[in-house]
């Protein structure tokens, strides 16, 4: 017996502080359908789904399941009604086993030895939807794809008929995404319905049967997937024509800016995270590092930017050895850094925008003279960055934490590029940003390349790497599985290399 044959959201309106996150939104989904919910960040997709899941109460509107008004006041109600949600950031306890994570929310688990019950029941689901998972593994031992399967299992155990997935592929390798789509198709055939939140057009086109587009809290369109193309969807989502292709100017690469020789770096747990890497980055070049996060990218970037000591090997910036020099020395020498965790390491959230705009330069001329800061100059400088990098803010005199993620990242990029560094190191620069901000930041990176800088780009987003890199290295367990020219790289090969199933001989100096 299905709990949900069809579900309808009617006239959903929700405002926060007088600002409409959702305004009179209608949505419909039936059993066996995969509905794509498309929209930029801040368009109101997640608000809408949180209303459906019972995390927020709408100001107006109703949710109708099988023709009857479903009163959903909290997540328990929606779980009971047969709705399951898989959040973008997994809600899993890392130190616990798969079975323990599933048992956590289940009411009908026996009090004693709950794991045994889960273990027995898990194999049924695994067979039905063709997903293998070991119930006794700890979550931290699993890959992102496997963790996602645990989330799906959690929903299945709760007998969810409608599954909401918030950007499910953002953390997956191409192969894992394919597996996920396989699972989604099997679930749809089985009569489940799935709502897929995404801003990746390719995905929507591939897996969804219908699509609904929202922009600024309003439904702007909806169609069967056969009736639309990517370009049309992008226009609906952004509200203007979007250039999905970048015109990368073909450039001869210049002289070498960074040389890394036989570098070994330890991770937090004392393991060898970077395992003897050697490579070079040149001027007029974007050198990309692809790989599933946790394969040594963070440690490599930290070693290059002076935030972490390497255990052996050399890092050379334009003939100067900068191995194990402090971050300030490295920065002054010409390496700037757009860090992975931008809120934690890129800014000081409570300081004003103009103070954040001079971080790393605050101690030196021209901003500081004899211990005193020259605020006129600093504010001037900040106004320039705000203008040049299209940062939308009411004023530069507000704490930076009040800006949106995209604008914060634009400020960081602006700050790091303004000094015209020899090498720009950017880690996941567009992670979690909407299509507009993403496009903008990629353009800035390419602009730096054209100006003659070298760029080291670490990313999990293969589309991004293909679009802006000249060469792509694939890292797995701290080693390069190969360095490819972006022009003749094959996405399938890169997927295999990311999981360590394919290794090409690394030719340096190419």
């Amino acid at each position: 017996m299905r709990k949900i044959n069809d579900l309808e959201m009617r006239g959903i309106t929700k405002s926060f502080h007088g600002f409409y996150a959702n305004k009179d939104i209608n949505l419909k989904i039936s059993s066996g359908e995969v509905l794509g919910l498309l929209g930029e960040n801040g368009a109101g997709k997640t608000t809408l789904m949180n209303i459906l899941y019972g995390l927020y109460r709408p100001d107006a509107g109703e949710i109708i399941i099988n023709g009857e008004d479903a009163r959903i006041k909290n997540p328990k109600d929606s779980m009971r009604a047969g709705i399951g949600m898989i959040h973008q950031h997994f809600m899993l306890v890392q130190n616990h086993t798969v079975a323990e994570n599933i048992a956590l929310g289940l009411d009908d688990v026996p009090f004693f030895f709950p794991d045994n019950y889960i273990r027995k029941k898990i194999s049924g689901f695994s067979q039905r939807f063709d997903m293998k998972i070991d119930p006794d593994k700890k979550i931290w031992e699993l890959s992102a794809g496997e963790q996602q399967r645990v989330e799906i299992l959690k929903a299945l155990f709760l007998e969810a008929d409608l599954l909401i997935m918030d950007e499910p592929t953002s953390v997956l390798t191409p192969q894992e995404s394919k597996d996920l789509f396989g699972i989604i198709r099997k679930m749809a055939d089985d009569g489940h319905s799935i709502i897929l939140i995404s801003h990746k057009l390719d995905e929507i086109m591939e897996i969804c049967s219908r699509v609904a587009v929202i922009r600024k809290g309003i439904t702007v369109g909806g169609a069967d997937i056969g009736d639309v193309d990517k370009k049309e969807l992008a226009r609906m989502m952004v509200g203007r024509d979007v250039d999905l292709r970048f015109d990368k100017v073909p450039l001869e690469r210049g002289e070498r800016v960074l040389e890394v020789k036989e570098l070994f770096v330890n991770g937090d747990r004392g393991n060898t995270a970077v395992n003897g890497l050697s490579f070079s980055v040149y001027r007029n070049e974007v050198f990309g590092i692809a790989g599933v996060s946790g394969n040594g990218q963070r440690e490599l970037v930290e070693a290059i930017t002076g935030l972490r000591r390497s255990s052996s090997g050399e890092i050379i910036l334009e003939d100067d050895a900068i191995t194990n020099k402090s971050a300030r020395v490295v920065n002054t020498r010409g390496i700037t850094h757009v860090p992975e965790e931008r809120i934690k390491f890129g800014i000081v959230p409570n300081l004003f925008i103009y103070e954040n705009a001079i971080l790393k330069k605050h101690h030196s001329k021209p901003f500081s003279r004899l211990m005193f800061l020259d605020y006129d100059l600093i504010k001037n400088h900040t106004e320039n960055i705000v203008e040049r990098y299209n940062i939308s803010t009411p004023s530069i005199n507000v704490p930076i934490k009040s800006l949106s993620g995209g604008n914060i990242q634009k400020l960081i990029i602006g700050r790091e590029i303004e000094s015209k560094p020899a090498l720009l190191v950017a880690s996941h620069p567009t992670y979690g940003l909407d299509i507009g901000a993403t496009e903008y930041i990629r353009r800035q990176i390419l602009a730096r390349r054209e100006e003659g800088g070298g760029v080291l780009l670490v990313s999990e987003d293969l589309e991004e790497l293909f679009e802006i890199c000249d060469r792509i290295a694939v890292i797995f367990k701290g080693e390069f599985m190969g360095i490819l020219k972006a022009g003749d790289a094959d996405i399938k090969d890169i997927g295999l290399m990311m999981t360590g199933s394919l290794k090409l001989p690394v030719q340096e100096a190419e």
């Binding site: 995390l55 997540p75 328990k76 779980m79 949600m85 959040h87 809600m91 899993l92 306890v93 890392q94 130190n95 616990h96 323990e100 994570n101 048992a103 956590l104 929310g105 688990v109 026996p110 009090f111 004693f112 030895f113 709950p114 959690k154 937090d268 747990r269 004392g270």
Partner: protein, 308 residues
């Protein structure tokens, strides 16, 4: 010689009992995500309340029960301040220690120097007590000892083999995940902190109505702080708490043993605390990463509902 060894071992188990009880309680509290540095104060309150009730009613079992209730109620202060008001847990815990020592001193004034007429007597378990050596060491102890073994093992079973144990541990690891699964995070944390208080109260009354059988101010003598160290030493697992508690119990007994050899009593009195420091330094230096993997991931951070 044999006699000395059996006597030392017997007394080691006695000295280890309050440490075991306190540590198991603190483990439960911290597994739920709340660090409570008020163990010293909670033990003191448990000790004096247990003693007062035993002294007036003549029933040590009533004293035992009362000490647990007082410990739990006293811990409620910490729960309210650190969970509901989301105050800094370190500050609140330290304040609780000071407050507990103060209250116990005030409450215990009339009882100073008065011996208990009826105290918690040792219980000889039939048959088992006759096993040579082992019987003498393990099976002629007071009820607190048996209780601590049952509670320690029970706590392990509860945490690692029951549904509710998963709920408690998940709350300490990732309260947000627990909440999306429909769990009342704050309620779980309140109950864990109060359970920790009850265990600490029990540990305190062991000192006053079974171990020293009298009340003096400062009876707990820093055992609450050792408990904090033992919680880390145990890596938040009640199984390891047994080892830790009895090793430290042994060090307490060692003081009396070494004194006749001419070692300064002042130095010997320092021994448990020196060992505590040594253990903490050792863990801090060598097992940093290892330790991180075992500490509840959300330990010490207040949780706010509905916040990202």
């Amino acid at each position: 010689m044999e006699q000395i060894i059996t006597s030392v071992l017997t007394r080691t188990l006695i000295a280890g009992t309050p440490l075991l009880l306190g540590t198991v309680g603190e483990i439960i509290s911290e597994r739920g995500g709340v660090m409570n540095l008020g163990v010293e104060g909670m033990m003191a309150v448990g000790a004096v309340s247990g003693f007062a009730v035993t002294y007036t009613t003549g029933n040590p079992w009533l004293g035992l029960a009362f000490s647990m209730i007082c410990g739990a109620l006293f811990a409620l202060i910490h729960a309210f301040v650190s969970i509901s008001l989301r105050a800094n847990q370190v500050v609140s815990g330290l304040a609780l220690s000071m407050l507990g020592l103060g209250i116990s001193g005030l409450w215990g004034k009339p009882y100073i120097g008065k011996p208990l007429a009826i105290k918690m007597e040792a219980v000889n378990l039939p048959y088992l007590r006759d096993i040579p050596y082992i019987g003498e060491i393990f099976f002629r102890q007071d009820p607190y000892f048996y209780l601590s073994i049952i509670l320690g093992a029970g706590a392990w079973f509860f945490l690692y083999r029951t549904k509710l144990g998963i709920v408690v541990r998940s709350t300490g690891e990732n309260p947000r995940a627990a909440e999306t699964q429909g769990i009342n995070v704050h309620l779980v944390q309140y109950l864990c902190v109060m359970a920790g208080g009850a265990f600490a109260g029990l540990a305190g009354s062991h000192l006053s109505i079974a171990y020293s059988k009298s009340w003096i101010e400062g009876l707990t003598a820093g055992r609450g702080w050792i408990v904090i160290a033992l919680t880390i030493f145990s890596m938040w697992d009640p199984k390891r708490a047994f080892t830790g508690a009895y090793v430290f119990g042994g060090i307490f007994v060692l003081q009396y043993l070494l004194q006749p050899l001419g070692i300064s009593p002042n130095f010997l009195a320092m021994l448990p605390y020196l060992t505590t420091l040594a253990v903490l330094v050792f863990y801090g230096l060598s097992l940093e990463g290892h330790r991180k993997m075992h500490a509840p991931a959300h330990l010490g951070e207040p949780y706010k509902r509905g916040e990202r």
